[in-house]
């Protein structure tokens, strides 16, 4: 009897192990195959205009979130948002408290994913702490994915993520980087 059970047991176990070993480094929602943007690319981004609409120079160098719409990344990002006390300043509903509202389309330092990444990684002047030492890039991108899921951020082509708000669609972008903010 054991001679018949043993092989099938081994097969079942192998199947389970194979299923588990597909989690890459970081956690179950590891970075996708395209890899992470380099730190230098992020630092070279110019700060965004106040309303989040940004100039073409910034757009040209901007980078999408490597996690995209990955729901596991968003869930991890939400868990991080609470564990890292982001909820304390920005509210459990992300609508702002000591820190600004993260669900609206007003981004003091730019609303592109890479600009939000930079704000989290490097901190900002009015009291936003710098998380780059405590959180590696993939964890920060998960946070950005969560913030993007709230609907107020901008896509890398300059349009707001939330397509329901046509009045916020970016007008034709000028080639002059020093135009006054609209």
């Amino acid at each position: 009897m054991s001679r018949r059970i043993l092989p099938s047991g081994i097969v079942a176990l192998s199947v389970m192990l194979c299923a588990c070993s597909h989690s890459e480094g970081g956690s179950a929602s590891g970075p996708p195959a395209t890899g992470l943007p380099s730190g230098g690319e992020i630092s070279a981004l110019p700060m965004g205009h106040i309303a989040g609409l940004t100039d073409s120079a910034a757009l040209a160098r901007s980078i999408p979130n490597p996690y995209g719409d990955n729901p596991q990344a968003i869930a991890s990002g939400k868990a991080l948002y609470i564990k890292m006390n982001c909820a304390g300043c920005h509210g459990y509903d992300a609508k702002g408290n000591m820190g600004p509202d993260l669900t609206d389309t007003y981004w003091r330092y730019g609303g592109l994913p890479a600009q939000i990444f930079q704000s989290i990684r490097d901190g900002r002047a009015q009291g936003m702490p710098a998380w780059g030492a405590a959180l590696p890039p993939q964890e920060i991108w998960k946070l950005v994915a969560y913030i993007q899921s709230l609907g107020g951020t901008y896509s890398v082509d300059g349009t707001p993520r939330n397509a329901q708000r046509p009045e916020l669609v970016a007008p034709e972008l000028s080639s002059h980087a020093d135009d006054a903010p609209r």
């Binding site: 989690s23 970081g26 030492a133 405590a134 590696p136």
Partner: protein, 339 residues
């Protein structure tokens, strides 16, 4: 499949385990405390009774198969059953004995489960255990609030006293199992399960998460160390003692590295680090293992774990490459001072 093929290896295994239990820390065939002893006795008892029953049946069966037929050669026409003092007695006796034995076994099982449900006396110590993927947070409570402290993965209990464990989970179902001390108790999110342990003699008793809980379930171990009451009090005092501030330049640098890179998730009492996402690392060098019992606590293992946790425990929540180079050396030196 004949009983013989299972019997011989089982006996051999039992014989081995009786003499070399220290080499098999997860063996539940011998336990060392009143939370587990009744169960083990029950297990052995039922096992023995089962083997006896099987043996009797086997003997009878073999006897029946190979009974000498010469007596009956001249009595082809007679049915064996019809003979006086024949087969019905076998049935009556067999059913009667089996029933009695079964009732004894059932009674014994029920009594055993009732006994192990509650400790023999009210536990003086309660440990709050929070299971999380993939480590164990421990909080020692006390009537004196300032003797309440948090640690991780290594439980100390005083010998000869029952200790109560309140089990909670922050994510998925886990199971708290220290096989040489007790049976399993599931840890279920949304409720607090209560179990207890008691050790008869000092020693290290290894535990394990016993319900599949994710990628690193296999590396979610824990150790229960039973100390004499004096040693236990000393351990508690050690955990509550405040370490002196860092002395040398490298150790201070290491503390700065720790504060910048690690303090968001980890806590070290006496410093400014008080994160709760990862295990509390206060007095880290007093622990035998790292990474929830996965690695012996040596400087090399500590450095390797900090540098590249994903290669040792892929999928663990601790990210890779947060600290490297001279920062890594400094922080390891700092952690080595946490006695």
């Amino acid at each position: 499949m004949s009983a013989r093929c299972t019997l011989v290896p089982s006996v051999a295994l039992l014989a081995r385990s009786a003499t070399t239990y220290a080499d098999t820390p997860m063996s539940y065939l011998h336990t060392y405390g009143p939370a587990g002893d009744p169960i083990t006795r029950l297990g052995w008892g039922l096992g023995t009774i089962s083997i006896a029953v099987i043996s009797v049946i086997a003997v009878l069966l073999l006897g029946g198969l190979f009974r000498h037929r010469t007596e009956r050669a001249s009595d082809d026409a007679q049915l064996a059953v019809g003979r006086e003092g024949g087969g019905m007695a076998w049935i009556y006796v067999g059913v009667g004995v089996s029933t009695v034995v079964l009732i004894i076994c059932m009674g014994w099982t029920l009594v055993t489960t009732a006994i192990v449900l509650h400790p023999p006396s009210t536990p003086a110590l309660t440990v709050q255990v929070v299971a999380t993927q993939w480590w164990w947070r421990l909080r020692y409570t006390s009537a004196n609030p300032s003797r309440t402290f948090t640690t991780a993965n290594e439980i100390h209990i005083p010998v000869g006293q029952p200790v109560r464990f309140e089990l909670a989970s922050v994510d998925v179902i886990h199971s708290f199992w220290v096989p040489q001390l007790s049976g399993k108790m599931d840890v279920i999110p949304g409720q607090t399960n209560v179990t207890w342990l008691e050790a008869d003699k000092p020693g290290v008793y290894r535990g394990q998460c016993a319900v599949f809980c994710g990628a690193e379930h296999a590396r979610m171990a824990l150790e229960v160390i039973a100390d004499t009451p004096v040693d236990f009090r000393a351990w508690q005092d050690d955990q509550l003692r405040e370490d002196p501030p860092p002395g040398s330049v490298t150790v201070r640098a290491g503390q700065r590295v720790f504060q910048a890179h690690c303090a968001a998730c980890h806590a070290i009492r006496g410093s400014d680090a008080a994160g709760i996402v990862g295990p509390d690392l206060s007095h880290l060098m007093s622990r035998r293992t790292l990474a929830a019992g996965s690695l012996p606590n040596t400087p090399g293992n500590l450095a390797g774990w900090i540098a590249d946790p994903q290669s040792l425990k892929p999928g663990a929540q601790m990210p890779d490459h947060l600290v490297s180079g001279p920062d890594l050396t400094a922080v390891v030196e700092y952690l080595n001072t946490l006695q």
